[in-house]
């Protein structure tokens, strides 16, 4: 498989993953406290987007699926795709399989933005204010980390990662300081957000993130060839005609934007951006022309799947962020141990 031409591989992998994603979506829509058979779920979706017209469908099921589950599943798909594709790009940027969007402090910045939105009361006024605050917080943090890592117009990857850790920790402390002074309701709301919850997602949230994420994903994919060149090393890439610093800066900007958009809605879901691209790379190989779209599809499948798992317990659902962490952390440790044994980067 690895020796195949990348376009042939795309022709096999992407349709296969797309079919798997469709199946996951239908399963996610059908499963839950009220079970709607798979076939009927599919018909309800088709009916609502106007492809078929079936007045015999039970109205209460239609509204469960179309008003409650479908928006939630779409948010899961979009956020999963965004986080995972960004992870693939970040790992390529730093030539490091352990990099993920969290490195840039996006999560901590978004968290600070969220708590500010909650405590100032803006969050209560409109469903759009908390995502907006979270996105602004994320972007400010990324900019700060980026400026700290800038040396003579170039970004040193190691400095970036270190300053990311330092700034994230500091911002986390500020967030906790605000939390201590907040009332129980505010704390609860914040904790709810940080756990990466998908419940309560409505079509407003879908509208909020789908368009920017899809546009930014397309932009990221246009940088596939540049990312491939970066894998060869900075100077090699430059000899081949790439502007490594400019490419890095642009890609950092796009990845932090897209991550900020995604987590502003569903909270900082951890490990999606780390493990999905890593697993996809095992099959897809290192070529970003395939790696980015395959990671996006894989992320969508993964996050939707995790959400299904979280909804299975009858005595109340588990937040999707908890599920991803439970699955992701052991895989991350496995990677660490294996890297130490093989002696790779990091």
């Amino acid at each position: 498989m690895n020796n195949l031409n990348v376009y042939k591989k795309m022709g096999i992998m992407l349709p296969a993953m797309f079919l798997l994603l469709l199946f996951t979506i239908i399963a996610a829509v059908a499963l839950g406290a009220v079970y709607v058979p798979l076939g009927r779920s599919f018909r309800i979706i088709l009916d609502n987007i106007g492809l078929i017209d079936d007045p015999a469908l039970p109205q209460e099921q239609v509204s469960i699926i179309f008003r409650v589950r479908l928006p939630r599943v779409i948010v899961a798909c979009v956020a999963g795709a965004a986080l995972s594709a960004c992870g693939a790009v970040m790992q390529g940027l730093f030539r490091n399989p352990m990099a993920d969007p969290g490195v840039l402090g996006v999560s901590s910045g978004a968290g600070l933005g969220a708590i500010i939105a909650i405590t100032t009361g803006f969050a209560a006024r409109s469903i759009y204010t908390m995502p907006l605050f979270a996105a602004v917080g994320a972007l400010c943090t990324v900019t700060l980390i980026y400026l700290l890592a800038l040396r003579k117009g170039k970004i040193a990857p190691l400095t970036l990662i270190l300053s990311g850790i330092a700034v994230s920790t500091f911002i986390g402390a500020v967030t906790q300081f605000i939390l201590i002074r907040s009332n129980t309701y505010e704390v609860r709301r914040y904790v709810f957000w940080t756990m990466g919850g998908l419940s309560g997602m409505m079509w407003e949230q879908v509208r909020l993130i789908t368009f920017p994420v899809l546009v930014l994903l397309a932009v990221l994919m246009m940088f596939s060839r540049e990312l491939n060149l970066l894998q060869l090393g900075e100077e090699e890439a430059q000899s081949l005609g790439l502007e490594p610093s400019r490419t890095r800066k642009l890609l950092l900007l796009f990845t932090s934007l897209i991550t900020a958009v995604a987590i502003s809605v569903c909270g900082p879901v951890s490990f999606v951006g780390l493990i999905v691209p890593h697993m996809v790379r095992l099959i897809a190989g290192p070529d970003h022309r395939l790696l980015i779209p395959a990671s996006a599809l894989g992320g969508a499948i993964f996050l939707t799947g995790c959400d299904i798992l979280g909804r299975l317990p009858a005595d109340g659902e588990i937040h999707v962020g908890i599920i991803t962490a439970i699955l992701g952390a052991p895989y991350f440790l496995y990677l660490l141990i294996r890297t130490r044994r093989v002696g790779g980067a990091f």
Partner: protein, 417 residues
Amino acid sequence: MNPEIFGNGSTGGRARLLRIENLNYHIDGVPILKDISFEADKKEFIGLIGPNGAGKTTLLKCINGINKGTGCIELDGTDIRTLNNRQIASKIAMLHQDTTVTFPFTVMDIVLTGRYHKLGRFRPETTEDYAVARRCMEYTDTLKLENRLINTLSGGERQRALFARVLAQETDLILLDEPSASLDIAYEEQLFKYARELSDNGKAVIAAVHDLKTAVRYCTRLIMMKEGRIIADGSPESVITRENLRSSYGVDAIVYRNRVTGLVDFHISGGSRSRKDLSVHVIGGGGSACGVIRQLFEAGCRITAGVFPHGDSDLSCADIFGIRALACRPFSEIDDNSLKENIELVKAADMTILCDMPFGLQNIRNLEAAAYASELIIIEDTDPRNRDFTGGKALELYNGLKKRAVVVDSARLHEVI
């Protein structure tokens, strides 16, 4: 010859391809390159030589626009600082020193990265790009590796694949940074052969070369660097001199024209033992004295030699080592005058060495001279009876000398000096 790989090669008397003037480069205030100026033209294969740390790699990276120095680097009359990397990549290709690729790309994908500077964001590789890549791979004999993963290739295969990528850039100027570092000698030869062929056909090649003998063999011009400066620039013959080797590499080397290859060659003296007090006279001929003279030279002895007929390789050897040697007309008997001089040299020396040489009527008088030695050493590797072409006359003299001489084989010469 494949004109599509080599380009048409017609310079049409245009301006210089590359012009560097007063290039200086610092890292944190420490000067790495100092006042580098030279020009390079198409059809030149320039070898950058000099010890490690002389600035060869740094210079190549400056030319490639990776290192930004002060001064002027002009390509086809355009300052490279006004060009972006994509434009530079369309004019200069560089093979870097560290060629390891850890990511499992196929060889074809790697070679196609050489076409990057021609591609647009919305313009994927065309059949022409593939055709160019295949042609370049065919040239470096890597087409059969097309679908192999680059990280599974041997060092030599990888190097040739990356060389194909350099060619796929289709540039007039090619920079090679110690291309033979990870190669065994067969591939090293091949790579330099490719490079020479490319320059002969109209490209300019500048290579940082570690192995001076390879540089001499393939480069049309050498630039010798030391501590960030150019200390010599010109034909291999004019750059590889005893003085230059001493000042750049700090070695004492004998530079001569290799009679087998016809190229400039050199021998680095290994000896540090100084026997300046010992003077030795060497009698030889027909190539028998060369090795002896070298050993004595390295031991630091004062050497004289003779009598050799003109044209004898021992005479050129003496010339290379800069020692005094007596010469006489070839194919004729040693004249009285030469004999007299030879006897004087034998008498003046602390020790005389008679080499494992053939005896004929022309040089039999060398044996007469040897009789005057205060201390005689005879090197006998082969039976003297087989070396006597005088019908026993020389053998008689030889055996007479042998009675009062130390006889050793050449492998044990060092024991007696």
